[in-house]
C-alpha cells in the first residue's frame, strides 16, 4: 500500500496502522537525511570551488584585519579623550595608530568561550 494512502486510512479510521506509520516516518527521516546530506555535498563543493577561484581575492581582504565591526564606531569625542589621557599619562611623544573595539569579526578564535555572548541575543524561540 502506498505511503499517502496508508496514512490517510490510518488517519481516517482513527485506528493507527503501526506498520504504515512506521514506513511513513522512515520515508520522512530518509528524506530529511538525504536532503541535508545533499546540501552538505553542495556546500563542500562550493567551498572547494571558491577556494580555487578566490585565492587572490582572499589575499587582498586579509590585508585590512583591523576593520572595525558594524556600527561599533567609537565616537570622536571619546577618541579625543583617550588620546589626551594616554598622552598625559605616558608623557612621551607618540601617536595612537589604531583604536578599535576588542571583538574582531575576522579573527578565528572560534573556540573562545567569550563568543558565547554573541549567541545570548539569540534565545528567541
Amino acid at each position: 500500500m502506498s505511503l499517502l494512502l496508508s496514512v490517510a486510512v490510518a488517519s481516517v479510521s482513527g485506528q493507527p496502522d503501526i506498520l504504515g506509520n512506521l514506513k511513513y516516518q522512515t520515508v520522512g527521516v530518509a528524506i530529511v537525511m538525504l536532503s541535508l546530506c545533499g546540501l552538505a555535498v553542495f556546500v563542500w563543493l562550493i567551498a572547494r570551488l571558491l577556494a580555487l577561484f578566490q585565492c587572490s581575492r582572499e589575499a587582498v581582504s586579509t590585508r585590512k584585519p583591523l576593520a572595525v565591526g558594524d556600527g561599533e564606531e567609537i565616537p570622536m569625542e571619546v577618541r579625543a579623550v583617550i588620546s589626551a589621557a594616554v598622552h598625559v599619562a605616558l608623557r612621551s611623544p607618540h601617536r595612537i595608530l589604531e583604536m578599535h573595539p576588542v571583538r574582531n569579526p575576522q579573527i578565528q578564535a572560534w573556540s573562545l568561550e567569550g563568543r558565547r555572548e554573541i549567541f545570548q541575543s539569540h534565545t528567541f524561540r
Binding site: 505511503l3 499517502l4 496514512v7 490510518a10 488517519s11 482513527g14 493507527p16 503501526i18 506509520n21 512506521l22 511513513y24 516516518q25 522512515t26 520522512g28 527521516v29 528524506i31 530529511v32 537525511m33 536532503s35 541535508l36 546530506c37 545533499g38 546540501l39 552538505a40 555535498v41 553542495f42 556546500v43 563542500w44 562550493i46 567551498a47 571558491l50 578566490q54 582572499e58 581582504s61 558594524d70 556600527g71 575576522q106 578565528q108 578564535a109 572560534w110 573556540s111 573562545l112 568561550e113 563568543r115 558565547r116 554573541i118 549567541f119 545570548q120 541575543s121 539569540h122 534565545t123 528567541f124 524561540r125
Partner: protein
Amino acid sequence: MIQDFFDFFKLTGFPDVTWQMPVMWAVCAVLFYLAVYKGFEPLLLVPIAFGALLANLPAPALVSAPPGPVMSPIHGTLVTWSVKPGDHVQVGDVLATMKNKRSGTEEPLRATSQGQITELSATPGDNLFEGQTMATIFSRDPGGLFYYISRGIEWEIFPPLIFLGVGALTDFGPLLARPLTLLLGAAAQIGVAVTFLCATLLGFSAGESASIGIIGGADGPTAIFLSAKLAPHLLPAIAVAAYSYMALVPLIQPPIMRALTTKRERLIRMKSLRHVGKLEKLVFCLLVTILCILLVPAAASLIGMLMLGNFLRECGVTDRLVKSSQNEIINIITIFLGTSVGITMTGERFLQKETLLIIGLGVCAFSMSTASGVIMAKILNLFLPEKINPLIGSAGVSAVPMAARVSQVEGQREDPNNFLLMHAMGPNVAGVIGTAVIAGYYIATLK
C-alpha cells in the same frame, strides 16, 4: 437602587465564571513563575501566560469574530433553523441543527459573532458543503482585539516573520566550515518521527501526531506553524510544551549525553574551524532556499524568510534592514505571537488529558532527538579520519543556542580546556533547517 446593582451585576463577568477559570489562573501563575523566576524562555512564556489569563476571564468580546456570513462548518444537511431573520444572537447561541454527512450525528451550529440575523440563505433539508454560506449576521461591533491579533497565527504570518528575525540573528559560518554537521541536525529529526509513532499509538490522529512530534524539533515558530495547519486545537499545549522544554534542555540533555558516550569520546578535541567568507555564506543562503523549497514547497514561507533574514545579514550592505529584523520586527511579533497563542488556551481546551499526554510526549521527543543526534555523531566517527566529539550531536535539536551551550558545558566538565561551543553551533543551526524540512514533509503528505 439595589435593583440597579443587581442589574449591573448581571452585566459583569462574575456570573460567567466557570470552574475551569480559577484552575487556569493557577496554571498561568505556574507559567509566570517559571518564566519570571526560573528564566524559562520569558520572552515567549510571559506573553503566552498573559494571553492565557485573558482567555480564562469571562470576556468573550476579546476574541469575538466580526459579524458577517455564517458558514457551514461541516459537510451535511440542514435539519432546522433555531433563529429567524431579525433575531439578535450572542456568541455561542445555537443557530441551527445540522446532520453531519460523514458521522450521521446531529450537531448544533453556534454563532461565533454577535448581532442581528439579516438573512437565512439555506432552508431545512438543504445539503450543504463545508464553507457554504448559510446565514448572515450583522452588527456594528467590529470584533475583538484578539480576533485581529490572532490573524497573524490563523494566516500563518507570524512564524515566518519570526524566522526573518531568527535568520538575521543566525551565523551559519560554523555549519559551512564543517558541512558534515548538517547530518547531525538531520539525525535529531529522528526524535520527531519516533514521537509521531508514540502519539499515534496513544490514539492521536496523524495531523495531531505530527504536531506533537515536532516539539522534538525544538523550534517554536515551526511548531506553531505546523500545528496551526494540522491540529489547531492542540496549538496552545504544543506551544507551551515546546517553549518549556526548550528551557529545560540543560536538564534533559546531559544525562542522555553521558549515558551514550564514553569518557574518551567526550574528551575528543576538535580542530579550530576555518574562516568562512561572505560569498560562501551568500551562496549557501540561496542554495538552501532553492533546494529546500523545491523539496518541500509547503515550508517555503518558513525557509524563505529564514534565508532572507540571513542574506540581509551576511550581504553587509543592508544594515538598516538587518537591525530592524533583529529588533523591531522580532520583538513586536513576539508580543503578538505569544499573546495570540495564549488566548487560545481556554480551560475547556487545555484542561484535557491530551495536554498531559502532550507534555509527556514532549519529554520523549526531546530525549529521542538528543539521543539520535549523539548516536549519529558516533556513527559518523566510524568513517571519519578526524573524529567528531559526539557531545555536539545533541546540539542538533536546535533550541539555538541553548543546546550548543549544553555541549560546551558537558565538554568542559571532562576537560576544562575543550571549547566545543562553536563546533556545536553547526548542528544547532542545521537542526533549524532539518525541522523545517520534516515539517514541510508532514504538511505535504497530510494536508
